[in-house]
Amino acid sequence: MAKQERKGETEESNRMWASASFVGVLIIIGLPLWWKTTEVYRVSLPFDKISSFDTLPHAITTELSVLANDDATATEIIGLIEHAFKDSDVIKLKISKSIISKQLQSTLEFVADEAEAVEEVGVTFDLTQHNSFYVVQRKPLFQDTWLAGDRVLFFRDAKAATTVVETLKRVVYQTAVLEGAKSETADVARQTRFPPGAGYHIVLSVVHPNPEALDVELDAGEAVEDYIGSFVDELSVLHNFTLKSQWLHLLDFDFQAKEVKDTSEWGRHFSVRTERLHLLLTRLEERAATHVSELPTLNLALYAVRCQAAPLIIYDLNDKKVSSPVQAFMSPKWGGVVLGSPSAGDCRHERAIWRPNVRLIMGTFISQLRKLLGITDAEHITGAHLEPLRSVTPRQWEIDNLLRIRTLEQLTSAERTLQSLAQLLGEISNIVINDDVGASINSAVDSIQRASELMQKGDLVEAYKMSQSAFLAAETAFMEPSLLALLYFPDDQKYAIYIPLFLPIMFPVVLSLKNLLLWFRGKPIHKEKTD
């Protein structure tokens, strides 16, 4: 009997060891192996840094020097400015105060012309420094404040303080646009300007629908190099620009224009409704070959209207003539179009020749380019005078502000891209992060932090460059096709393969665990069923 019991026990232990080896092979070795081999490859990412982006400071430190004739005026002005910019979370002013030297003071009062006065200020102070601005008192001024292309704002006296603050806030620093650059919803300026990028191609397309009846005398390449070239040269600190031009012949567009009689030389003009115009862009896109360039393309198109349909005038939605010397329209984030009509005299020749007014047309293109590249037109403030632009070059403080806008925009865009990538990684387990993507995410995170530090320090150009590299790195990481390598294999299909294989095998193994545990603890497995 004892022998039989002992035999039973050895059999029992054999069975238990067998059961344990099944568990060992399938659960202890098999499961981790399966887990390891089917794991999605992911480089470890700095999630804590990405989630802490919201706490990073985003204000740009900028220098402002107030130069007044006496200390009291300076203090009053500074007090008001500090108060106005106290709550701003985009701009942090570092205001320095100084009293104008007697000599400069007398010169400033002596010179009649404001431009000369600016030059005089430029002799003593460095006006070419990015991210700096001078508020200078100048007694003989007809308005409260006077602002031109350089980084100088003249004001008359302490009474003009509120105008100074308004001008700084709404024209020079444009805090509303800066706020818009980092807000979640795009404001009008951001809806118009191109998304940030390392460089742009600017293509002027001369659309010539009727080459057999009309000659257009225009050297498109030269016009682009001369006018647009000198404009974008000033913006070379922001982006690289490549200028190109092309002719699109025989691209005819039906404007569905209506003839209107008038008193001009022609005795008529043709009216085209604004809602018809965007269809022209579709026709242009077909031929303009914008997709060949490796960088985003800003399109400028000059449409040479045929003599039979000239002059063509744009009517707005209320059926009113758009009063402008140049008939033009702009498409946000695409480019601008100028509709050029030959004059009656041009068409009267046997062979009609149109010599476009290059200055006027290119000026229109530049004003469109300003908006497309992010320079917003300043609003008018009562008592403040803003010198109108005389040449193609943008104003110095506009470039500074553009740098600020782009820095903030790129920084917030990079942060959002990384945050949404982090969120996606949490939600979709199939996304692969290979070493390249990991490296560009890490470099983006580093650049964001560096840019934020540089913004604190007030080094605007470096901060811009850093934010741009952050933006580009974040975009490359997010757009990398390797992220989606495994995405086509959905989870439910995976389980359709695993379940038939694993369920019949794992069921008995898992159930045997209970007996195995009891046996290991030395407890009887079977309740004694003998009486």
Binding site: R15, E212, L251, R287
Partner: protein, 557 residues
């Protein structure tokens, strides 16, 4: 006198025009009946631009193409997209021969150090530009021909051109409307005016053979070649079958579905040339009558060309030919050099490629044969036989570059001296290779395409020769252009092999079956190993679960 004054006036006008824009556009059509049953139509649109200014500012040249050329520093580029097979022995020679499918070769500037990367970028860009699968060109199907291809354009003397050359063909590519539309967009008149308005995709794809091409090269501006110009030539070659157009009498309306609505207003020259040499044997009359007839004597053969000067006045022109009598029985005279290529062998282990070259001339011809086999068709050089002999005196020079699996194709070039009035057979054997299951193309049982071989020859006679002389841009350069040699590059017909192809659903079936068997076998195995059969004595106290079970059992009863 009046005409001379007019000529001077026009030439001044043209020079002014060229001075302002520095570019020039010409369009031409060349039609040649191929008796008895075919008609060859060849369109060429030539844009000449100054090399220096072309890349960023374009007037008549397509900016998309010039930009690609300058970005990748391409010196010369030839791209053809072809459907169908040119039958050399029957149709004679085309102006420019093209391999079936897509074919691309380019010379890069000597400044390009890493040609392979640049080539990859170029093919990807062109693939987007022409909506063709040129992006499938990779190192494993690219060769660098050593002898067969030479630049057509101006090259600095003493420059190593061979190392900057890359050649690839995709014989499987199917050419259709989606390639023609982007091709037309490169023309200054697009398809709205001029000769390109005849290229109606409904009609031109209804042909025996059609081929569209873009050829970019640098040509000398003056005799001393101190300045170069960029020549962008866009070509279309069509071969119509009289059976398809349902009559021997052809006209533009029958061939293209419409008449010609005048010339392109931007072209400085719009001419139609019709080869009427065959009028002697197959008499027909042209309506309207041609503006003039040129007789050209070139390399011992006389050609008569009817020329039409087309003006950009928007008047519809419908040129046609009406045969005067029923056609006689044709006597086909084969061209001086023709060839044939086919696959040998049976089973799925070994095979061979045979290229037969026939020289009908009274003198020997030197040809370069380039065999370009993909890596999955390993050519064995040891099995190379010329006329059945391993060591043949006909082979003057030989270049062989063995392929590497998934990296490099097999590339064999032979310089052969073809004896007069003879047929030379070049045979080479290959082995079939098993591919990985992902490397099979869709519909693998359709077979695998082997690209055409290139045959580069200097013909001693201009019989059946229609190509332009190397310095020529337009068709008028053909007239009386006798030379010592007539260089031409032919493409043989492609071939198809069927590689050992597995049953692709098999792995899935195996997985399913194996899973089921494992699952079924595991349960009993596990039970036997871990369970014990115990006799259950009667009258034992019943457990709770047993009680529940019994309850159900009773209810069912």
């Amino acid at each position: 006198m009046e005409s001379i004054r007019k000529l001077i006036y026009y030439s001044i006008l043209i020079t002014i025009f060229q001075y302002v824009y520095c570019d020039d556009f010409k369009e031409e059509i060349f039609l040649k009946p191929l008796p008895p049953t075919h008609l060859y139509g060849y369109f060429q649109f030539v844009t000449l631009v100054d090399s220096e200014t072309s890349s960023f500012h374009s007037h008549l040249a397509p900016r998309s193409l010039t930009e690609v050329i300058s970005r990748f520093q391409v010196e010369e580029l030839h791209l053809t997209l072809t459907e169908g097979q040119w039958r050399h022995h029957q149709w004679g020679y085309p102006v420019l021969d093209a391999a079936p499918g897509a074919e691309l070769y380019a010379w890069f500037s000597p400044d390009v150090a890493d040609v392979d990367t640049q080539w990859k970028k170029l093919t990807s860009t062109l693939s987007g530009l022409f909506c063709a699968s040129l992006n499938f060109i990779d190192n494993f199907n690219t060769v660098t021909p050593q002898m067969a291809l030479w630049p057509m354009g101006a090259v600095k003397s003493g420059q190593n051109v061979t190392s900057q050359l890359r050649y690839a063909s995709l014989p499987r590519e199917i050419v259709c409307t989606e390639n023609l539309t982007p091709w037309k967009k490169l023309l200054p008149c697009e398809s709205s005016r001029g000769f390109s308005s005849l290229l109606n995709s409904r009609m031109i794809h209804n042909t025996n053979y059609h081929s569209i091409g873009v050829h970019v090269r640098k040509i000398c501006k003056s005799n001393d070649c101190s300045e170069t110009q960029l020549e962008i030539k866009q070509t279309v070659a069509l071969v119509y079958d009289y059976d398809i157009i349902n009559s021997n009498d052809w006209s533009f309306r029958k061939l293209f579905g419409q008449g010609l609505p005048g010339a392109c207003p931007l072209s400085s020259e719009s001419k139609i040339y019709i080869d009427i040499t065959s009028n002697d044997t197959h008499a027909y009359t042209l309506t309207p009558p041609p503006d003039n007839i040129i007789v050209s004597q070139r390399g011992g053969s006389d050609t008569r060309l009817a020329v039409y000067n087309i003006k950009a006045d928007g008047q519809m022109i419908n040129i046609g030919a009406k045969h005067n009598s029923k056609p006689d029985l044709p006597v086909s005279i084969p061209p001086p050099l023709h060839f044939n290529r086919y696959i040998l062998g049976y089973g799925k282990e070994f095979g061979g490629i045979v290229t037969e070259l026939t020289n009908n001339c009274w003198t020997s011809i030197n040809v370069v044969v380039l065999e370009n086999a993909p890596w999955w068709l390993p050519l064995q050089l040891s099995s190379l036989r010329v006329n059945g002999q391993a060591e043949s005196s006909l082979v003057l020079s030989q270049y062989y570059s063995p392929g590497r699996s998934r990296q490099k194709p097999y590339h064999l070039e032979l310089l052969i001296k073809l004896p007069p009035r003879s047929t030379t057979t070049v045979t080479i054997d290959f082995e079939f290779v098993f591919l990985k299951w992902q490397e099979y193309p869709p519909d693998a049982n359709h077979g695998f395409y082997v690209g055409s071989a290139l045959i580069s020859a200097n013909l001693p006679t201009a019989r059946n020769y229609t190509s332009l002389p190397i310095a020529g841009t337009t068709f008028d350069s053909v007239v009386n252009a006798s030379k010592q040699w007539y260089p031409i590059v032919f493409r043989t017909n492609g071939a198809m092999v069927s590689l050992p192809t597995p049953d692709f659903s098999m792995p899935y079936n195996v997985i399913c079956l194996a899973c089921t068997v494992v699952a079924l076998a595991f349960g009993p195995l596990h039970n036997i190993c871990t369970k014990e059969l115990v006799l259950k004595p009667l009258g034992t106290p019943v457990s709770l679960t047993q009680k529940l079970f019994n309850l159900f059992k009773k209810k069912r009863d």
